[in-house]
Each structure stands twice: as C-alpha cells, then as structure tokens.
C-alpha cells in the first residue's frame, strides 16, 4: 500500500475513533418550545395514553377539551402530547432532565419534582383545590403542601373467567392464595393460563404490592422501606411455587400488564388482577360476554383483602414557563364534572373530585369501586419512590424465578440508599 492510501486509511481509523467518541458520549434531546407571541400563550400539555387503540386514544379526549377551551379563551393555545404508559415516566423525566419543561402533565407524579421546586401547588392553579378527593391528598403532598392533583383514580380487584371456571368444575370464587393455586392448576389442565401474573417492567410494582398486601406486607412500614419483610418474602415464595408449577404464563418477569390483559380478554387466562380499565378491553375483544367474567376482592393468604391498592393518576403543573394564570384557567376548565365523568365513561376509571364522585354514586357499576376508594392502600409518597419504583419494575420479577429473599433484600438496600 502506498503512502497516499495509507494516510487516507489512517484517516478512516481516526474517523472510527471519532465515531466511538460520539457514540459513547451520546446524549439525547428533542425539540419543544412554548412561545408567547401576539398576546397568545401556548401551554404544553403532556398526558399518558389510556386508550387501547386509535379509537379511544387519550389524545382525542384531551383535544375535545382543548377545542372547547380555546374557543372560550382565544388567547391561550394548548398543544397535546400523548405518551404510551410504558414510556410515560421515562419521557417526562427526559424532558425534565433536558430542561424542556411541560406546563401540565397528567399521569404519574413524583414528589421529587415538588421537592426541587418545579411545581405550582394545587392552590396556585385550581380555584377549588378542596374539591379533589381527600383520600389521595397525602400522595400528592410534599412537606405539607399538595402539588399532585388527582385526575383519575382506580382500585384493583381480581377478575376471573367464569366460563373457564365452569369448564374446570370450579364453583366458588377464589378467595385465598390456596384457592388461587388450586383453581389455577385446574385451568392449566384446560390448556389455558391459570393465573396471569404481569411482573414485567410496565407495572410490576402494582402486581407485587397486591400480593404483598395478601400477607400483611407492603413497600413501607411506618414510612421506612421494608421490602424484605417476612410477609413480602412469604408472598413471593408463594408466587414462585405458582410459577414453577406452571400455573401462570411462562416467565412472568418479562410479561407486561397490557399484553396479559388482552389475553384475558381473549379468554385464554383464568384469573388476573385488574382495574376497571380492563373492562373496556374485555368488551372490545368481543370474546367474553358480560356474564362470562366477574370481579371479586383480591385474594389474600387467609381470605379476601379488605383493603386494596388505590391508584390515582395526577396532574402536575410546572412552574418553569411561568404560565400560572393560563394553567389555572385551563385546569379549572378541564376539572369540570362533565369532563371527569366523560373520562371515567371512556376508560371505566373513577373520578378524582368530590363533586364528580357524588354524581356517580348512584351508578351500579362504579359504586362498589367508589366505596372501596377511601380505605385503599397507596404507593409510598416520599421523594425516593420514583427511583425505587424503577428498580422494583425492572428487577422484582426475578424474585419468582430466583431466590425471593435475595432479590427483595437487594431492592430494600437500593431503596434505603436512595432515601
């Protein structure tokens, strides 16, 4: 090879080295701006998508509100960005890390945003913050002030396929862990999945908590992380037995809720823990009729749970763009009862305001869920939860294939060092 080619070649190597530098030091960023021009303010609204497809996408719901709102408030424009639940936390986090703040988010809220002074309080941006359901106040509160504003709520119940139960010769609803195990084994013999156990990264923290509660456990005791408590270990030891007997879908640690709910709707799963949001999925699959399935309180170790996981998704209002007045106009508008109820009808979720709850109290489908809400158990509300939740989502599923005690103690250590 002659000198000329050689130098060109080493240039290639240099280029490769430069590419290595560029790739290793890679950072992500995305565009996004909110401009104020000609007296018009643009609010950036980022919402989680609760829909199961284009037909009931949450963007449609929000665009409906926005259209009506913009008509009433010509100087305020609202752009809607909707993000699938699987990516919601991460994308919002990335926006914040990159200092591209949204004005309003609806989905998960974390108290560390409040701690860092990024948020307006509920009183700053709502005319009537007292109308928000008091049961969820603690979760949105950071050092005495409420920042997370519940927008929609739900509680969990155990769904089961009555058709499969009849085929397997099971008469009674599952109430205890032993029932779950026996029934799942019988359904497995039909060639179906006995119990659907979604411990994949999407929502492993919810499924896990439902089992922890079954033996009196949970993520925290008295505000301290006790993930490795004997009760939690016993719950995961039970699950491990269930998994190794083949009574669940294979490899629960890699399976997400969305996929498994669809399979339940297709009639191939015997039992699964679900929220009212599972109902429209069942209906749209057109496989199970309303009499083919039912839902009962979550099964515990000794009997059905008297408390359940109550989840609320929150609205958070970010300070950074300084749009307090406009955000207040928008949130007052969006929190009207008719929009609360429309959201709940669309996704079979529950309202998050006292006035909307009153309007729903007579509804036969919703009232059992509503009465369960006030004494529901919620996720930890401290600032380390965002970090702990990520770790739980990623790794807790390995507890049902590995050693439960080891996985849970690693998580507890990680949680302690994060708090």
């Amino acid at each position: 090879m002659n000198k000329k080619i050689a130098s060109r070649f080493s240039g290639g190597v240099a280029l490769a080295a430069a590419a290595a530098l560029a790739l290793a030091g890679c950072s992500s960023s995305s565009g996004g701006s909110s401009s104020a021009g000609g007296g018009t303010t643009t609010l950036k609204l980022v919402v989680a998508d609760y829909g199961t497809g284009p037909a009931n996408a949450s963007a449609t719901y929000w665009n409906g509100i926005v259209t009506a709102f913009e008509k009433a408030h010509p100087t305020i424009k609202v752009t809607v960005t909707s993000i699938p639940w699987t990516n919601f936390d991460q994308q919002v986090q990335t926006m914040i890390q990159n200092k591209q703040y949204p004005d309003v988010t609806e989905g998960d809220y974390f108290s560390n945003y409040a701690k860092d002074g990024l948020l307006y309080s509920a009183a700053d941006v709502l005319s009537d913050p007292a109308n928000l359901l008091p049961a969820f106040k603690t979760q949105g509160t950071y050092s005495g002030t409420q920042y997370g504003m519940p927008f929609t709520t739900s509680s969990r119940t155990l769904f089961y396929n009555k058709k499969l139960f009849a085929q397997a010769g099971i008469a009674a609803a599952p109430q205890t862990w032993a029932d779950v195990q026996a029934d799942a084994a019988k359904i497995k013999k039909l060639g179906k999945v006995g119990f659907g156990l979604p411990l994949g990264a999407e929502e492993a923290q919810a499924e896990s908590l439902l089992w922890m509660l079954g033996d009196g456990g949970g993520y925290q005791t008295g505000g301290k992380y006790t993930i490795n408590s004997p009760a939690n270990v016993s719950a995961f030891t039970f699950l491990k037995g269930l998994v190794s007997a083949g009574d669940t879908e294979p490899n629960p640690g890699t399976v997400n809720r969305t996929d498994l709910w669809k399979q339940f709707a297709e009639g191939t799963v015997g039992m699964i823990n679900g929220s009212p949001a599972l109902i429209p999925i069942i209906q749209s699959a057109h496989v199970l009729t309303d009499s083919d399935w039912t839902s009962v309180p979550i099964a515990g170790k000794a009997g059905p749970l008297t408390t359940t996981l109550g989840v609320c998704d929150n609205v958070a209002a970010f300070k950074s763009n300084g749009h307090q007045a406009q955000i207040k106009e928008f949130l007052d508008f969006a929190y009207q009862d008719k929009y609360q109820l429309a959201f709940d009808k669309e996704y079979d979720l529950l309202p998050a305001t006292t006035s909307a709850t009153k309007a729903l109290a007579s509804d036969s489908v919703f009232s059992p869920f509503l009465t369960a809400l006030p004494n529901s158990v919620q996720y930890p509300s401290d600032t380390s939860w965002a970090n702990v939740k990520t770790k739980v989502q990623q790794t807790i599923g390995t507890a049902v294939t590995g050693t439960p005690g080891t996985v849970l103690s690693q998580l507890e250590q990680a949680a302690m060092s994060a708090s």
């Binding site: 530098l21 290793a24 990264a201 294979p250 890699t254 399979q263």
Partner: protein, 295 residues
Amino acid sequence: MSALRRLSPLLWLGPAVALIGVAVLWPVVVMVQSSFQAIGGEGFVAGYNGTANFRHLFDEPDFVSVLQRTLLWVVVVVVVTMLISLALAQLFHQRFPGRTVTRWALIIPWAASVMMTALIFRWALDPNVGVINVILHHLGVVKQLGSGQADWLGNPTSALAWMMAVAVFVSLPFTTYAILSGLQGIPDDVYEAAAIDGATSWKAYLAVTMPLLRPAILVATLINVINVFNSFPIIWEMTRGGPGYDTATSTIFMVDLKQGDVGESAAMSVINFLLVIVIVVVYLATTRWKEQVDR
C-alpha cells in the same frame, strides 16, 4: 502576507476541528464531569460527589454480570458477522445473473430502522401468535404455542441468542460491502500467478485473498466492534434488558440507571467509554495495523 498565508490551512481545517470539538470532545468532557457530580433523576446538579457514583456503580449487584454479558455480546456478534460477511462478499464478487438486484437487496437490513427491525422480530417471536413460533409449531419444533418453549424472549439465554441473531442481521450489509470493496481492489493477475504456481482455489483464498483483504477486514471489524458495543435499540425493543438485568448490556444498564441517578449513569458511560478505547487499542495492537497500512 506570508504570515496570513501560513494561517490559511486553518480556514479549511477550522470547521472540521470545531465540529469535532463541539460534537465529540465537549460531550466527553461533560460526561466525565457528570460522573463526579451528584445528579438526581431530575437532572439537577447537587454538587461534587467524589467517587461515590463509581462506588455505587461497582456495588450494583448486576454490574459484573452486565459487563461480562457486554463482552460476550460484542465478541459473538462481531465474529459471526465477519464470518458470514466474508462468505457473502465472496458470493457477491462472482458473476451471476441477478447480481445487481441481490446486491441492492442486501442494503435493506441496513436501510431499515434498527428499531423497526427489532420490533418486527419481537412480534414475530410472540409466544402465542408470532409468525416464527407459528411456523416452528407447524414444523413440530415448538410443541405448544404459549408455552415456556415458545417464549423465546422470556428466557435470558434464548433471548440473548435471538437478539444476537438480529444484531448480526443488521450488521451484515455494511460489513459485506466493506469486504466486497476490498475484494474488488485485488488485481486479477495475482490469482493468475497463483494458478500458474498450482494453487487450488482454497489455497489461493488463504494465501492471496486473505492477506490482501486484511485492511478491509480490519476497518470493518473495528467499526463493528464500536457499533455493536454501543448497540441499544435491539435489546431495548426486544427485552428492555429483562428479566431483571439478565439480558442487559452496559448501554442498556446505563439508560436504566439514568432514570433514577444521572451521576451513576454517567459513571457507567465513562466505564463504557474506557472499555471501548481499551478494546480498540488492544485490537489494533494485536493486528499490528500500522504494519498493515504502511506496507
């Protein structure tokens, strides 16, 4: 005037140097700086953190296994890619009807977005309805759909094997073209001379083609190593590194850490960066690339 004249090369070099400085060197500086700062999940710098980020990282129970897996991932994907590409390039170097079309077709895995390719494979491997599983079921390989056996991506070993196959698939076009261009640069007369000396075609391949291909192989391997090491979309789309971190490479691990602790994530990036440099330097040293290119 002559002083100005001496400066004129700067005019031509300037933009490129500035680009490398801003797009390559500056991020590296920020990365190293971040790895020594306390930065939480919201991206706020809470001051100097000493070596705590690194200590945290080394204490992660999955750290060592993630690194081992990363090395395995790079070695297997690059070696298999190179072997298949050598054969493919040889094939495309022959004259046969339809050669132009097939050469064009080879671009497809390269032109398609890696993320889309990974998604398509994930769907095709769905344990209940994935097309690969349905075919394997008809062939009798997969006994029952929806079973543990059909859940290729749920088991860390088979998931890693499938993802490696996808990584090889998307690396083939570039590698094959690099080797093909090397093959086309070899003059015919050396083969004539080899034939006169009585070399069989296999002997000619080993004694003539391979040595002359070395520069092309060298560059292709190097770029592949860097690419595969930092490969992100395939694993992210197919398993997200799960179950747990059992299929995560260091890049996936870094992204996952970033959600909760940007500082620790930056520490992982620094380790990643050093590893790439070490691997490249060791590779260049063992292949004595200077002799290759200066000859």
